[in-house]
Symmetry: C2
Subunit: 113 residues, 2 copies
Amino acid sequence: MAKYDLRLDLHFAALSDPTRRAILSRLARGKASVSELAAPHDMALPSLMGHLKKLEDAGLIITAKEGRVRVCELAPDTFVPVQDWLSEQRAIWESKLDRFDDYVTNLMRERSQ
Amino acid sequence: MAKYDLRLDLHFAALSDPTRRAILSRLARGKASVSELAAPHDMALPSLMGHLKKLEDAGLIITAKEGRVRVCELAPDTFVPVQDWLSEQRAIWESKLDRFDDYVTNLMRERSQ
């Protein structure tokens, strides 16, 4: 079984909300201030800040003060842990299909003898 | 902004738990009965059934009675919505890098003139 990875719990939980996914998509285009991030969302600022805190606590984004403005950007390699987990599942799945291929090939070989 | 996709909420939330991820990894190897899935986990059966229900409600697994045994397997294209979302973010990110490349190339061209 794969080593237990707390980051994956936090990353997947952070990604389970549409506002947080929209914020990450916006940040994939480049860094943005909190008010730029808030603009497309019909949401009180404290709620939006709550989402940003969850993304920051999960290690998905970095925030920093630039003068009087708080600016957010994607953390380096933001989606790598989640992508790695998915790739691992695909590898397990494909090795199962390979074993099934081998089984069918052997079966056909035996029958043709 | 990407169309809001309730499945993504459910899939990411389902994936945010280590027991549920371990169950999915096990099922990537092939279908299994509830007791086979329970074996590696030090957990009361009702708790494990709760995890299976969450995976089934999210559409990540399918369960069916085979005689007296309940058997679970991965739903078809289990990880496709999550993988598609990640690929979309990568595409946004890469198109940003391309624009930055163009910007630097143009800047160098202007300076060399």
